[in-house]
Every structure is written in structure tokens, then in C-alpha cells.
């Protein structure tokens, strides 16, 4: 297992956002997290990336506990993420945005940047090459010099994925990547997720677009009111009664 959650609970004040959630994500799979609004999906991502500490339970990534580790350290460990609401960096161009993602894999500091040492220049150049490759991967190489926030919505979403990939993760967490996308954009996204898997990166994705999820995910968990109600392959989930009940309600007898 690359990522393992063990009886993870989180409460904010008296409100339990997650209660006793356990599941494991295998290396190389595309893993889905679904559930109605407010089920605790984004909270789950925030716990994995160290934004909030867990109230109880354990999260193990690649054999190491991520509990109590600061967010930027979890990125260094190999966990990258995107955001439910796009959070790109103001005035940066697309290329700079991706370069920013490579921050934790590079080392130039204040002095070498000021002196433009040979090592710094070589590193910058190499990074630009790799960043451009990531832009090509998400089909944005034409927009390398465009200001990120001026790009159309669908492109901004893909740029966010490129920025996350640039941190060279083992695991990428996608928070509603298809939100607000039309059918053709969603199709591009589906192919992109396939490409990410082919890079050997494990994907965990939160999404409401069921067709997409059933299509791309190897396995899924379903959350409702902060509890895991089901886990399994798309087939198993689709036929699971607890899931149907959570989404459609119980039939009156």
C-alpha cells in the first residue's frame, strides 16, 4: 500500500467531519473518493497533506506517518494536490507557475540566485526544459508565456495539475478536477489522468462526475456524513445498496 488510512477521525470543535475512516491506496492505481456534499472528502485531502492535524487515527504514506508533518514537507515526501477552487499564483505565466511547482526538487538559494552561479543557471535552464515538458503533457505549451489567471477555466484546471505534477510526486490528489468542465474538457481530463497513471504516479481523485469516475477509477470509497459506507470496484459501488441510499434516499416501504 502506498497510502494507508487507519481509523482516521477529525472533528472541528464539536462537529465530526470524519469518523473512523480506513482504506488503502495501492501503488499505481487510480483511486476515487465520492460522496454527497459535506461528506468530508476535502477534509480527507487536507489531513493527508498536513493542512490539519488528525484528531485520532493514523495516515501512513510510503511507510512513513504523515501525522504532525507540515504541508510543505508532505510535498517533499511525494504527495501533490490540486484544489477544489482553482488557486493559481496571481501574475505568474504558465511556465513560471509550473517552475514554482519544482521548488522542492531544486536547491538554489538567495546567494546563488544573486550571484547567478553556474550551478544556479544550469538548474534554472534544466527546470525550464522540464517545466515545458509538463506544459506539453497538459497541452498548454502554446500558453507558456500567458499569465496563468487569464487562461480559460479548463486550461487553468490543467495548469494546476501540471504545477502539482512538477513537484514530482508519487501520489497526486485531485480535488474535483472536472468541476465546471464541459463534456469535451472532461474527456481531455480523462485522458490526462490516464497519462498521469502511465507516469507511474498514483492518483486519488474526488469527483462528482460519476460517469468519469466509474470510467477511470480502479477502486473507490464512498463517504457519507464523514463515515466510509462502501469500498470497491466501480461495479461493486454501483450495485451497493448503502451507496444508492446515500445518493437517492431510502425507498418507502
Amino acid at each position: 500500500m502506498l497510502l494507508e488510512l487507519n481509523e482516521v477521525s477529525k472533528s472541528f470543535g464539536g462537529v465530526a467531519a470524519l469518523t473512523g475512516v480506513s482504506f488503502g491506496v495501492k501503488q499505481g492505481e487510480v483511486f476515487g473518493v465520492i460522496g454527497p456534499n459535506g461528506a468530508g472528502k476535502t477534509t480527507l485531502f487536507n489531513l493527508i497533506t498536513g493542512v490539519f492535524p488528525v484528531s485520532s487515527g493514523e495516515i501512513v504514506f510510503d511507510g512513513m506517518s504523515v501525522v504532525g508533518i507540515k504541508p510543505h514537507r508532505t510535498v517533499e515526501m511525494g504527495i501533490a494536490r490540486t484544489f477544489q477552487n482553482i488557486r493559481l499564483f496571481g501574475n505568474m505565466t504558465a511556465l513560471e507557475t509550473v517552475l514554482t511547482g519544482m521548488h522542492c526538487r531544486t536547491g538554489s538559494g538567495f546567494l546563488s540566485s544573486f550571484l547567478r552561479t553556474k550551478r544556479q543557471r544550469i538548474e534554472e535552464e534544466r527546470c525550464r526544459g522540464i517545466a515545458y515538458e509538463f506544459l506539453k503533457l497538459v497541452d498548454l505549451e502554446e500558453d507558456a508565456e500567458e499569465v496563468a489567471t487569464s487562461l480559460p477555466y479548463g486550461k487553468q484546471r490543467r495548469l494546476e495539475i501540471a504545477r502539482a505534477l512538477a513537484t514530482h510526486p508519487q501520489l497526486i490528489l485531485l480535488d474535483e478536477p472536472a468541476a465546471g468542465m464541459n463534456d469535451s474538457e472532461t474527456e481531455v481530463l480523462r485522458q490526462l489522468i490516464g497519462k498521469i497513471r502511465d507516469l507511474g504516479i498514483t492518483v486519488v481523485v474526488i469527483e462528482h462526475a460519476m460517469e468519469l469516475m466509474m470510467n477511470i477509477c480502479d477502486r473507490l470509497v464512498v463517504l457519507n456524513f464523514g463515515k466510509k459506507i462502501a469500498e470497491g470496484t466501480p461495479q461493486e459501488i454501483q450495485n451497493n445498496e448503502a451507496v444508492i441510499e446515500a445518493y437517492l434516499g431510502k425507498e418507502e416501504v
Binding site: 494536490r81 499564483f89 501574475n91 531544486t106 544573486f114 526544459g129 515538458e133 502511465d198
Partner: protein, 336 residues
């Protein structure tokens, strides 16, 4: 020559020092922190530098550098708790720090309290002495005092150029991108692997160092300092430079301090109405250009036109292609 009279030359010197002070605010602002401690750090640099050259008889340049270092040391202590604050809270805390420093200097015996320090060795004066020594008095029709002032200006310009070069180069690097990311969205920056606390702290410390250097230069230009030089009023004045000139680019502070240092002198003929016009100009500019005169895209365009900035060179890279292939091989091995 009329243009080179000591009064004009002194205004040029104050413009350069103001530009340095403006940049010290800009640098901290570039990481999204509004610190109003500039006058406090400036006074630390000024007092430490002045006392070292006045009482310990150290060379002026050594005093100024140590003054800058002490200011950044103070920034470490102040920054540990305050860089965790955001927005207005940081502004208020650092403003308070400036006042505390002022009151300390006001009450210490070594700093001569409210009377301040006088007779600080002055850079133009020292250089004038050199001018006499090397017998360039009267060279090109300029007397030794003018030569001394001109050389002082050149030294100040070199310091300013170094600081600008530092900012520009940092800006176009990994560190500058980290700053920009933090300024735009510090939460997202943290989740892209940027150590936000570290970079905020470094911006704070380097900003303090620049302010300390500015203070040291100030003390050795005016040869007299007292605590009221570094009051709350001073911070507001310094803050106006980046805000007026454009707070998103280093050149904004330079332009802002140029205009705002000259303006009161140019408007001198208005006598009593001077401050009214000065204030009105500020209000108009903020209404018309809330981001200041210079913006990032403007500077970008200008430097592209002048040929300083080219489209970034992007080398061929095969890192991802190789990774795809490696994965494919691995999958085939698994199946085979």
C-alpha cells in the same frame, strides 16, 4: 556650476537613501508581508553605525555594514513571533516595534537621549578631505566640496545599484518565484512544497538589513541623528515610496522616492500651499493608479523593448518521455 550646488547634491543623496528605504519595504512586501518596521530598523542601523564610527573610531563603511547586520539580527528576534501574523496585524506589530526602538534610543545615555548624536563623521566631508589630499580641488572647475559630494553620490548610487541588482536577480529565480507564490496565495504555496515560514522570515530579515544599511548611510550623510528622525511619521513617508511608484516592482520604490523627494523642493514656491498640493497629488494618483505608477507588466514591456529581457530559452528535455518508457517497460515485465 549652479546645478551642482551643495543643496541640490544633498537632495540627490536623500533621494538615493529614500530609494533604499523604499526598497526595504518593497522587499518584505514582495513576500506578501506589510511590515512597517522600516524606520525602526533604519534607526538601529543609523545609531549602531554612528556610534561605531563616532565612539569606536571604526571606518565608516565597517560601521554601516555592522549597523545593517545588527538591524537584521533584531529582525530575527522580532520576526520569530511577528512573521506569523498576517496583513494588518503584522503592520501594527512592526509599527509598535519601531516606536519601542525610538523610545529606547530616547532614554539611553549612550545615544545621548533626545539630543541625539552629533558630529558623526560624514561621507561627503571625508571625501572632500580626500579631494584636498589628492589635490583635485579646482579640477574641471569644481571645488573640493563639490567633488566630495559627487563622489558620495557615486558611492550611494553603487550601493543602490547593488541592492536593485539583488532584487532583480532574486525576482527572476527560484527564490523570487517562491516569494511571488507566497504573496499570491500562501496556503497554495505551502502545498506546492514551499517553506512559507522560512521565506517570510528571510524577506523580513533582508528587508531589515537593507533598512539598516539605509539608516547607516543616512547617519553618515546628515552627520546628526536624533530619535525624532525615525518616528511614526518617517514610516509613513517611506511607505509612500513603493506605494506611489508601484509596489510590485523594485523600480517603483526608486521612481516613488525620486518623485516624492523632489516634489516638496519643486513645490517650494507655493510656500504655505505646498502640503495641500502634495497631499492632493497623492490622493489623485491613488484614485487613478491604485497599484502605483509602475506595474509589473509595464516594466516587463519596457525591459523587453530595451532588450534586457528576452523570451526564456527552453532547452530540449526528455525527462517525462523517459519516465513514460520506464513505466511501460515495468508494466511489460510484470505481464511477461
Amino acid at each position: 556650476m549652479d546645478l551642482l550646488n551643495p543643496y541640490y547634491l544633498q537632495i540627490v543623496m536623500f533621494f538615493i537613501i529614500n530609494a533604499i528605504m523604499g526598497i526595504s519595504i518593497y522587499f518584505t512586501l514582495a513576500s506578501g508581508q506589510l511590515s512597517l518596521g522600516a524606520a525602526g530598523f533604519m534607526s538601529v542601523g543609523a545609531y549602531v553605525g554612528a556610534m561605531l564610527s563616532l565612539k569606536a573610531d571604526l571606518p565608516i563603511i565597517v560601521g554601516i555594514i555592522i549597523g545593517g547586520l545588527v538591524a537584521s539580527l533584531v529582525a530575527v528576534i522580532i520576526g520569530l513571533p511577528t512573521t506569523r501574523l498576517r496583513g494588518l496585524y503584522l503592520a501594527i506589530a512592526t509599527l509598535g516595534f519601531g516606536e519601542v526602538v525610538r523610545v529606547i534610543f530616547l532614554n539611553l545615555d549612550v545615544t545621548n537621549g533626545a539630543l541625539g548624536l552629533s558630529g558623526i563623521p560624514s561621507i561627503p566631508q571625508e571625501l572632500t578631505n580626500y579631494a584636498y589630499e589628492f589635490d583635485i580641488d579646482g579640477l574641471m572647475g569644481l571645488d573640493a566640496v563639490t567633488w566630495g559630494n559627487l563622489m558620495a553620490i557615486i558611492i550611494l548610487l553603487v550601493v543602490l545599484a547593488l541592492i536593485i541588482a539583488f532584487c532583480v536577480r532574486i525576482n527572476n529565480s527560484r527564490v523570487g518565484r517562491a516569494f511571488a507564490a507566497i504573496k499570491a496565495d500562501d496556503h497554495a504555496a505551502e502545498l506546492m512544497g514551499i517553506n512559507v515560514v522560512y521565506y517570510k522570515m528571510m524577506a523580513f530579515i533582508i528587508g531589515a538589513f537593507i533598512a539598516g544599511i539605509g539608516g547607516g548611510l543616512y547617519a553618515h550623510i546628515t552627520n546628526f541623528i536624533n530619535p525624532t528622525d525615525f518616528s511614526y511619521h518617517k514610516v509613513v513617508q517611506i511607505l509612500l515610496f513603493p506605494v506611489f511608484g508601484g509596489s510590485n516592482v523594485v523600480w517603483g520604490s526608486v521612481l516613488g522616492s525620486f518623485i516624492l523627494t523632489l516634489l516638496p523642493e519643486v513645490l517650494r514656491f507655493l510656500s504655505d500651499y505646498r502640503d495641500i498640493i502634495y497631499g492632493a497629488l497623492l490622493v489623485i494618483l491613488m484614485a487613478v493608479r491604485p497599484d502605483g505608477i509602475l506595474t509589473e507588466s509595464m516594466v516587463d514591456k519596457i525591459s523587453r523593448k530595451l532588450g534586457f529581457k528576452k523570451a526564456p530559452y527552453i532547452p530540449e528535455s526528455q525527462v517525462l518521455t523517459e519516465r513514460f518508457e520506464a513505466y511501460k517497460r515495468k508494466q511489460e515485465e510484470k505481464q511477461g
